[in-house]
């Protein structure tokens, strides 16, 4: 195989059909077809709707990615696919397509972990990436704090959400405030004129009693209930509910917990680097607070461009490319969709 493999990556773990093409560490295409609009009327991602959309979007997305990258399938050295974690029925569409494409082309297949893919996205920025780093991955599907010592061999889960993902919390609070889906940008817009200190909402998993076992874990269901209760009580007693103040105060609670725990992980592990990933990184307040507090703590923050932070196939191709360049054998064809794949499993079904 060439030193710089040409890899096509397929990502279908949630509501984005992502096809990426990379050569070594160079991004050639990051093609994304989203079914977000179809989910909007349901107020959240509907697994069956997502799976149907993946099936329809896959072939056009592959064709568009090849055209953008100016390569043909015959040029591809390896196929990569997300095995998990994610929505099982959605993942299966990508797994079925990736296996068939690999057999059809007679090329190796690399089945990889979606969360580690988010970390690999950083490599495509073209900058020199240093490890170890703490990584905070925040989206509608996951909220994870990781310690990455080596991208292809050593990723440790420090903590994750015990209930809702942070992105889900934004969607649910948006509904409470009568704002449309997806909630992230709507809450942001409403919060822009609000006071983040107007209401002191709880910071989940942050009490002293949580620190022993859940130091790096997250919980957003208590916060969601607190916001709902606050709104109800004010409505019941006829007091005005300032949507901007509630939105800003809620957002502040989420951002505070995320950044505090991430920087705590950096300090406790002596790692002066923090990587942010996942779709919720689009939230400007999160980026601003992270940058400001990290600077004070002497931690360097890396934030890939948003198109590489949201779910995409390029990050899957990038991870496979790193695996190939470090001499890892391909995956066998005997694996499935694993909706709860642990982050420590960077590649699945590795052939011996």
């Amino acid at each position: 195989m060439t030193r710089e493999p040409l890899v096509l990556g397929i990502e279908t773990s949630c509501d984005e059909t992502g096809i990426g093409i990379v050569r070594g560490r160079t991004l050639l295409s990051n093609t994304i077809a989203s079914s977000m609009d179809e989910h909007a009327r349901y107020g959240g991602v509907v697994p069956e709707v997502a799976a149907r959309a993946h099936l329809e979007a896959l072939q056009p997305a592959i064709e568009a990615a090849l055209a953008e990258a100016q390569v043909t399938l015959a040029d591809i050295d390896a196929v990569a696919v997300t095995s998990g974690p994610g929505l099982a029925g959605a993942l299966m569409v990508g797994v079925g397509a990736a296996k068939a494409l690999a057999v059809s082309l007679g090329r190796p297949l690399y089945a990889v972990n979606h969360l580690v893919g988010h970390i690999a996205a950083d490599i495509l920025t073209g900058d020199e990436v240093e490890y170890p780093t703490v990584a905070l991955l925040v989206s509608g599907g996951h909220t994870s704090l990781l310690l990455v010592r080596d991208l292809v061999s050593d990723v440790e889960l420090l903590g994750e959400t015990m209930d809702d993902a942070a992105g889900e919390a934004f969607d649910k609070i948006a509904r409470i405030l009568g704002l449309p889906y997806p909630g992230g940008p709507e809450i942001d817009r409403a919060a822009s004129t609000g006071d983040p200190n107007a209401i002191r909402f709880p910071r989940g998993m942050s009490r002293a009693s949580d620190m022993a076992e859940h130091r790096y874990d997250f919980s957003f269901s208590g916060l969601k209930t607190a916001v709902a209760r606050w709104v109800e009580q004010h409505e019941a007693t006829g007091q005005p509910v300032s949507v901007p103040d509630v939105a800003a105060s809620f957002r502040e609670a989420v951002v505070d917990v995320l950044v505090t725990k991430a920087l705590d992980a950096c300090a406790r592990h002596g790692v002066p680097r923090l990587l942010l990933g996942g779709g919720v990184i689009a939230n400007k307040r999160l980026r601003d607070v992270a940058l400001e507090r990290a600077e004070a703590a002497g931690v360097a923050v890396r934030i890939p461009p948003l198109s590489l932070c949201t779910d995409n196939g390029a990050m899957i191709a990038a991870l496979a490319s790193e695996l190939i360049m470090s001499g890892r054998p391909a995956s066998t064809l005997a694996f499935g969709a694993d909706s709860t794949l642990p982050v420590t499993t960077i590649q699945v079904a590795t052939s011996s």
Partner: protein
């Protein structure tokens, strides 16, 4: 040569020659696990097909596929999609067209070709549709192009009501638990030869997605 794939019940992969001879036939009866097994079955079928028709002992030769045929259901959606996604990706990899086939047509052709001298009465292919329902399609004989003649579209019916529904059509009941990959390929071959490839863009879902529309906001109380 045509590659046939169906995941509407188990997982079936086959390759047939231009003259209809079966070169490879690899299948799993497991009603789940389509994503797990599809790659291995495809690889096995390609290896087998390289050695000529089943039973032949020739040296391996390139498998010059002309089409990929795929069963579009009806069948449980999650598994069904795996085969369709695989067929489309495989065809894209080879630069050849996909021929969508109704999975029940393939099962019907198997019934009709089982005994070439039998006069098969009107019958219904009946398959498991989960959720206490069957899917059925009624057929009556074979037409001049060698394709099964469909009397009804694929229809869902409560399991308890299947016999009454078939009596209405005077159709014998043929319960089907396997869609043979070779029959999917053969239906496609005959449809291509007759210029009657159906434009089935979507799987035959038969059911709308299972979704609950968001209701009014729930109270959390005190």
């Amino acid at each position: 040569m045509i590659l046939g794939i169906d995941t509407s019940l188990g997982t079936a992969v086959a390759v047939i020659d231009d003259d209809g001879a079966v070169r490879a036939d690899a299948a799993s009866a497991d009603a789940l696990g389509h994503a797990e097994i599809i790659g291995t079955l495809l690889a096995t079928a390609m290896t087998d097909a390289a050695h000529g028709p089943i039973g032949a002992t020739g040296a391996p030769e390139a498998v010059a596929l002309t089409h990929v045929a795929v069963g579009m259901g009806p069948g449980p959606f999650t598994g069904l999609r795996v085969g369709i996604a695989a067929a489309r990706a495989f065809a894209l990899g080879r630069g050849i067209p996909v021929v969508p086939v109704r999975s029940h047509d393939a099962a019907a052709l198997a019934v009709l070709l089982a005994d070439p001298f039998a006069d098969v009465p009107r019958f219904a292919v009946v398959t498991d549709a989960r959720r206490k329902e069957f899917a059925f399609t009624v057929y009556d004989g074979i037409d001049d192009d060698g394709l099964p003649m469909r009397v009804t579209e694929a229809t869902l019916v409560k399991r308890d009501d299947i016999d009454a529904a078939l009596a209405e059509h005077s159709a014998e009941r043929r319960d089907t638990t396997v869609i043979p990959g070779a029959m999917v390929a053969l239906v496609a071959a005959r449809a291509v030869a007759a210029g009657r490839v159906e434009d089935l863009g979507e799987p035959l879902y038969l059911r709308a997605p299972d979704v609950t529309m968001p209701g009014p906001r729930k109270k959390v109380g005190q």
